[in-house]
Structures are given as structure tokens and as C-alpha cells.
């Protein structure tokens, strides 16, 4: 296995997760062959039938995340705190009981929160799907929280933050990188919340958010596995269809301005042993510009997809300036997207020299340096990924749910290979020149340099 110390990429929504059931696929068959319906209350239902194992994954996606928390109220992390508290009981289900019921039928459950979405999911033997739906529908409207549970769970999420972030200088540094990259956006705030604001989270913060956003019309149900489309829709109608939808707020995603002065962050930390260079650029995300989104997907794969592509070959193999380098595009956002570069200098190479060498390599690509064959191969690899995408039950639900929760359509997901195929060398060259030309980038990147403690004897 090649070493990639930090995986940056959130893979594009059709990539990376698992595999398929078309024996011999025609050119650009739909990726998942999913079916969809909309309940009378406006809730979308998507079903991916897959009969390989008697198992079903049930995912409920809310189109709301930490970026939708109220601004300027002095607290942060309410979206993620609510996600935790959703396991703390309704009138009918005791605190903690939800997960135990799932376990007792041989299932697993969990949930996650992003800046733009929140999802709850269970994988169970397929015969239990109606019960799972009933449980999930119950907590959409009947959440009932004891003060004691709010208090103890707040301690849990603060421990979670200590584990993920406060204990690790690299994580703290990445948190600050994001804050610098999105100066006028809720994407600047960590999903889990700022350390000093989390202790202030209370019942009102989560309940107002819950009442505003958790409603069927703002939710998407994705069911994947050993099920039948019509039966799933009929069960969903019974469990979720009876819940009336209420209006919910607009998503506000403010854009960060083009600042003219360069942002550079440097941290010397006594726990850090490995100097590391990061760069991040603000770039369009999917909703903002679909063609650019697909172009970025192909660009990142073409120049940094694996050890045979240009960045690794140039900087690691040929010029021996880096030990590792990777570029990844995060365009799965309702607001602005971002492009991240991560590099470790080769022994004896300073961070300054590494940065210069990367700029040199980028300058060589500007103009005409994106190669036709690299683009074509990248497209083939990306399209092949769609064939792997259905060798899984939970994977397709994850991919489709994420895309829809961000405002993409099912067609966008199903036709992803065709869209990738339509990208040309010129498209890739254009976005590279526009966003990544070190001489004149459309937006200046944020540069981050993480270093060991300075030698005090010098």
C-alpha cells in the first residue's frame, strides 16, 4: 500500500465506495439504477435494490448541517449536538434505547453531521425495515430530552472534541486553516464547535434548530439492499407520510471575498516532528458550477490521482523535493468548494524550497502542461470507479444521500460517468490556469506551514 499520511479527498460522489450488478455494462449505464418517489408531504424516497445479502441500509438525510446554525449567538456545534441527542429518547423510546433495539435485531446504527447535512443510518436484516422506519420517523417529531441527558451528552461531545482536535496539533492547525480559508462563511467553524463555545450549548440551541429544520420536506430517505421499490415506498408512506411538513428556513451560504493580501499561517509546535506544507484554494463547488466541478474532479485525478501521475512523478520521483504530495478537491458543498494541497519535504529540503519547487511545477503546467493522455486516463479511472460502486449495500446509499442532500439530483448521480467523459483537456487546462497559476491565481491560496519547535539554542 502506498503511504498517504493524510487522506484529504472527499471523493466525488460517485467514487470510491463499492460495486455493481450489470454483468456487462453498456457505455454509461446509470451508475446505480436507483428508483425514486416523493411522498405527499414532500419527502423524497430513493431505493437501490441489491439482493446479494438479506440486508438493508436505511438512511435518513436532513438537508441541514452546522453551516445552518444561527450566527452571532455565541455558541457553536448545535447541529452536531442535536445529532447526538437524537439518540436520547422520544416519548415512546427511552434514552439510549434506539441503538439497543437495532443491535438486538443484529443491526448497526450511527449518524454523522457535516457543514451541509446530517444523516442517521441503520443496517439491519431486511425484514426489519418497517420497524426501523417507525423508529426513525418517531424521533423526527417526538424528540424528548431530560436535562440530565443534555448535561452528560455535552460532556461527551467536549470529550469528542478533545479526542479529535485538542489532543493533536495537526488537527488544531487544520481547524485554523479552514477558518482562514472561509473568512466570511460558516464553513470557517468546526462542525463540532469551538472549544470555548461548546460548553454554552443548551436545550434551546438544539430544540430551535430541531424544530426549524427536521421536517419531512427537508429530509431524504435512501434505502439500499434486499428490498422492493414499491414495498419501500408503501412502508415509507405509513411511517413518514403521516407526518405533516412545515416550512423551513432558506440555506444561507455567504461567500468569502477576494482578499488581496496573502494569508500565511506558520505554527511551531513542540509535539510536531514532521514539517508539512498545506495550501488551500477557494474554488467553485457543484451547485455553483457543475462543469467546473467535473473539471476539477478530472484535474485532481489527472495530476495527483496516484503514484504514476504528474505531481508525484515530478516532485517525488524525478526532482526528489518531496516525500509525498497530494491534491484533492472538495466540491461537495452547498456553498463554496475548496482545493487542498498537502506535501512533505524530502530529507534535506526546506519547506521554503519545497514551496518554490511546487510553484515551479505548477508554472510548467500553466498554459499547455495538462496532457491529453493524462486527462483521458483519469476519466477512464473515474468512470471505472462507478463500476465498483455497487459492490456494497451501504455505499450507494451514502453516495446518493450525500449528493441529494447537497442539492444535486438523482440524474446528476446516475449520469456522472457521462459528465466526466465530456470533460476535455482544454477544460482541465482552463481551470488549472485560472485557479492554480502561482503568478496570477483567481484567488490567493491560504498557505499553512506546520513545523517542529524552533531550536532555542540558535
Amino acid at each position: 500500500m502506498k503511504l498517504k499520511p493524510l487522506q484529504f479527498g472527499v471523493l466525488g460522489f460517485c467514487m470510491g465506495i463499492l460495486a455493481f450488478s450489470y454483468p456487462a455494462q453498456a457505455q454509461f449505464q446509470k451508475v446505480f439504477g436507483a428508483k425514486t418517489a416523493t411522498l405527499a408531504n414532500g419527502m423524497q424516497v430513493v431505493v437501490i435494490e441489491n439482493h446479494r445479502a438479506p440486508v438493508v441500509t436505511h438512511m435518513l438525510w436532513y438537508q441541514v448541517g452546522s453551516a445552518d446554525e444561527p450566527k452571532g449567538d455565541g455558541v457553536s456545534g448545535a447541529a452536531h449536538f442535536l445529532e447526538h441527542l437524537m439518540f436520547k429518547g422520544s416519548g415512546a423510546i427511552a434514552p439510549g434505547e434506539f441503538s439497543k433495539l437495532i443491535r438486538n435485531v443484529g443491526g448497526n446504527d450511527n449518524a454523522f453531521t457535516s457543514w451541509d447535512y446530517t444523516a442517521f443510518f441503520q443496517t439491519v436484516p431486511s425484514k426489519y425495515l418497517p420497524q426501523v422506519m417507525a423508529l426513525e420517523a418517531d424521533r423526527m417529531i417526538n424528540l424528548s430530552l431530560a436535562d440530565r441527558d443534555i448535561e452528560s451528552e455535552r460532556d461527551v461531545i467536549i470529550e469528542e472534541r478533545r479526542m479529535r482536535t485538542d489532543n493533536d496539533p495537526q488537527s488544531l492547525f487544520m481547524e485554523q486553516m479552514r477558518a482562514a480559508l472561509f473568512p466570511n462563511s460558516a464553513y470557517a467553524e468546526p462542525i463540532i464547535g469551538w472549544r470555548d463555545e461548546m460548553p454554552l450549548l443548551g436545550r434551546q440551541d438544539v430544540m430551535e434548530y430541531y424544530k426549524a429544520w427536521y421536517t419531512p420536506a427537508n429530509a431524504i430517505l435512501v434505502v439500499s439492499g434486499d428490498v422492493n421499490f414499491e414495498e419501500v415506498v408503501s412502508e415509507a408512506e405509513k411511517a413518514y407520510g403521516v407526518i405533516p411538513s412545515h416550512p423551513y428556513p432558506e440555506h444561507i451560504r455567504s461567500k468569502s471575498p477576494d482578499f488581496r493580501a496573502e494569508t500565511r499561517l506558520t505554527l511551531h509546535d513542540e509535539d510536531v516532528r514532521q514539517p508539512t506544507l498545506y495550501k488551500a484554494w477557494l474554488v467553485p463547488a457543484f451547485l455553483e458550477d457543475k462543469h467546473t466541478y467535473y473539471s476539477f474532479e478530472v484535474m485532481a485525478e489527472a495530476i495527483s490521482g496516484n503514484a504514476s501521475t504528474k505531481l508525484y512523478q515530478t516532485l517525488v520521483v524525478n526532482r526528489k523535493k518531496a516525500t509525498s504530495i497530494s491534491l484533492s478537491y472538495d466540491g461537495e458543498a452547498r456553498g463554496q468548494g475548496s482545493l487542498w494541497l498537502y506535501a512533505i519535504p524530502a530529507p534535506g529540503v526546506s519547506i521554503e524550497d519545497l514551496e518554490k519547487e511546487i510553484n515551479t511545477a505548477f508554472r510548467e503546467i500553466v498554459g499547455n502542461g495538462i496532457e491529453e493522455q493524462d486527462v483521458e486516463k483519469a476519466k477512464t479511472r473515474l468512470i471505472d470507479q462507478a463500476l465498483f460502486a455497487r459492490d456494497s449495500v451501504a455505499g450507494p446509499a451514502m453516495v446518493i444521500g450525500q449528493a441529494l442532500a447537497l442539492g444535486a439530483t438523482l440524474d446528476d448521480v446516475e449520469n456522472w460517468p457521462q459528465k466526466i467523459d465530456s470533460i476535455t483537456r482544454e477544460d482541465v487546462q482552463t481551470i488549472f490556469d485560472m485557479y492554480m497559476n502561482p503568478e496570477a491565481p483567481k484567488r490567493l491560496p491560504v498557505t499553512g506551514i506546520l513545523l517542529p519547535a524552533e531550536d532555542k539554542s540558535k
Binding site: R52, V55, G96, N104, G106, G305, T380, Q385, F388, D391
Partner: protein
Amino acid sequence: MRNALMRGAYLLGFAIMVMSLGGIQDARASILKIQTVKSDKNITAWLVEDPTVPVISMRFSFQGAGAINDPADKQGLSQILSNTLDEGAGDLGSKEFQAELSDHSISLSFSSSRDDFGGSLKTLTKYQDKAFDLLHLALTKPHFEADALRRMKDANLARIRSNMSDPEWLTARLANAVLYNGHPYAQNSGGTLSSLPKITTKDLHEKFSTQLGRDRLLISVSGNISAEELSQRLDEVFGDLPDISTVRQVENVTPPAQAEVIQYVKEIPQTVIQIAYPGISMKDPDYFAAEIFNYILGGAGFGSRLTETVREQKGLTYGIDSNLSEMDFSSLLSISTSTRTEKVGEVLSLVNAEIDKIFQTPISDRELVEAKSYLIGSVPLGLTSTDRIAGMMMGFQIYGLPANYLDIREAGLNKATKQDVLRVAQRLLDERHKTTVLTGAKQEIGPVRYVENIPDIQ
């Protein structure tokens, strides 16, 4: 998913799983239909054929050829071999070899555990000729070219330096050094900052030519390939390997002679805690009762006694779990958690109290039924992709279990009584051999042996 926070630490930790509650099934087919395929050259593989996916997944393993063979001054040799085998072979240089893989969307990786050396191959059926050919080349004509060796050593050195700021990694290193003191398992299988530079091309050739033989080869395959096709492939890919190979003979590990608390002092807000007892082999008749015991104590995540007390009631941690693990010469029962510095003493007391409670208020009928229900019922969740199935079968082979192990396990779990569970708990929770390892700031928790340096990093 990098952009999302998971609620539990256990999302992908799905234990091995498969189905049907309560043992009231009639005579029925095996849970997993494994064929044994034998080639003309007498190479054996386990196969689960699945014509519904355009994918083939293969795992292979050379038993006993792992990091236990690494010389003390060349720790990491096995790991470096796994990193360099795909860096050029036959007529293909490093770049060409990597390009052949990526241009055909073939995932080929080699890996080394402490015990074994192995790898995995995943390909679309349409590229299978190329995939098997590349694997054959890597296993017969690798280059180990000097420049590739240098790059892989540098990447591993960077990985170690990056990990040195990660308290969980440091805790795992320390636990390893303490639990296996004096045994080859105590070495750092990823290499050390001083050992990696000593590894030469000659070392790689020697290990490669003497340890990777057909006499210790295990293979499992799942996906779109028939027994006849696989039989031919086995000879093509593995037929040229040496018949006989030699690995180091190793003794079983003796548990530490006395209970002890060992701490690496580091000024971080949260202390990482790992507690270990001697474990139990999967071949032991009491193993099924041990699985039930572990599930009730801490294996279940939500619903387990440790999680209910330490997380749900007290809010002292984001995650606490227990785990049974096994290697060729050692098995462990371990408990892992983390908490803020000032609460370490309280968490350790609570864990002790839960352990006492196992004996004072023995498990209930309900706990027994629920544990069996999950452990049996969740098995199909692990049968949803070809690589998971191939991985599960490789696990059975590595541990010397029969192909119908899932059936045997189901019967064994069903048969286990509360008395069995109590007996195995008494056997496992041997306080004389309890080792507690901490990484974090100092606090008052009773006798602690502090260590200044963790062995086998520098």
C-alpha cells in the same frame, strides 16, 4: 468521510457478522457457501463465487512471513518489502508498473502484519488478465530498485514523525513494548527512525526469496470468477513461487508477570487509556462464550456495560470499548478509552467497578439473549461486498478455522449458557496480569511507572 463527524467510534468496526436469530432455523444451507478450489500444481484457494458483480477480489497471505522475522536493527523490513513489491517488476519500471495498475483501475496492495505477509487484489473482471499478470510479475520479478527503496523509506520515516504527535499511536506503541517485552512482537513493525535507513536492497531480496513460498500460502477469492477459471489463475499467478520457504520460529508470549500501570507523560488535555488482559484463542471451546462476555462488557458499543456507565451516565468519554484480538503467539482482551486528565482516576475506578460487577451481579437472561441475537444476527452485514467476503475467509484461514466456521459459530453461540460466560469472564479477567497503559498529563491515580521514552520509535 472527512467532512462529517461520526457519532460513535464504532461505525466501521462491525464485527464479523452473519444471521438468523435464536437457533430455531430448520435444517438449512450454510450461511456462506465456500468452495475449495485446488489447482493442477496443488495450490488451494477458498472461493465464494458471485456472478452478479463485475468485480473479483482476492486476498493472499504467507503465514509466518510477517514482521516477526525483522532483525532488531532492521525493524520495518517486512513493511518496506510490502511497499516496494509494486515498485517495478519484469519489464516494467516503477512508474510503468504503477501506471499499468491505475490505467486499468486495479487495486493491488501488499501488507505485512506481525505474523504474516500478504496482499490484496481487486479488479473489474474486464481487466482480470492484466491484474493477475501484474500480481504474478510482482511476486516473481520485483526490481527493488534503489530509488524506489529510498522513496519508501522516506515515506515511512515521515509517517513515523507525523504519528509522533498522535497520542493514540504513542499509546499503542507503549502497550506493545510493555505487553510483549522480550518477544519479537515488541518490535515496531512499521520500523523506527534509526532502523529504516539500514534496510538495503539485499535485505529485500533475501526476505523475498526465502520467506514467500507456496508452503505457507493462503488464498481467498470472491466475485465474478468460476472455480475452473480460478484454478488456472492460481497456477499462473502463484505457480512459480518456491515450494519451500523458511521463517523464524517464535515462542508464545508470556503475559507480564505482574499488574502494572505505565504512563508516558505528555501535556495534552485528554489522556488515552488502554487496559489489557491475556485473551483467548478463536479455537478455544470457550471462545463463543468469550464473544458474548466481551459484547456485554464493552464490545457492543451502545448498550454495553462500559459504554452505559462511562459514557451514557457519566459523560466521561466519547468512546469506551472492549475487544478480543488474536495473533499467532498471543491473544488479548483489551479495553480502550480516553478522558480528560482530571477524570482518569474516576474512569479507571468505574472500569474496575464494572469488572467486579460481572461477578457480583452476573449477566441477566436478557443480556445473554440480546448478545446472541446481535452476534448471530449481524453476520450478513459482513457479506455485502466481495472484498469483505474475501477478507472474512482469509481471517478464517489465518486462524486455522474451517470453511463452515460461521455455522459452527452460530451453533456455539446458541449453546453458550450464563455459566459458560461467567466461567470465561473469570478466566479472562485475571487481575494478576492486567496491564494499564496511559498517555497524558500526570495526575494522582496511585502507583504509576512513568516512562520517559517509548521504545522502538527513535
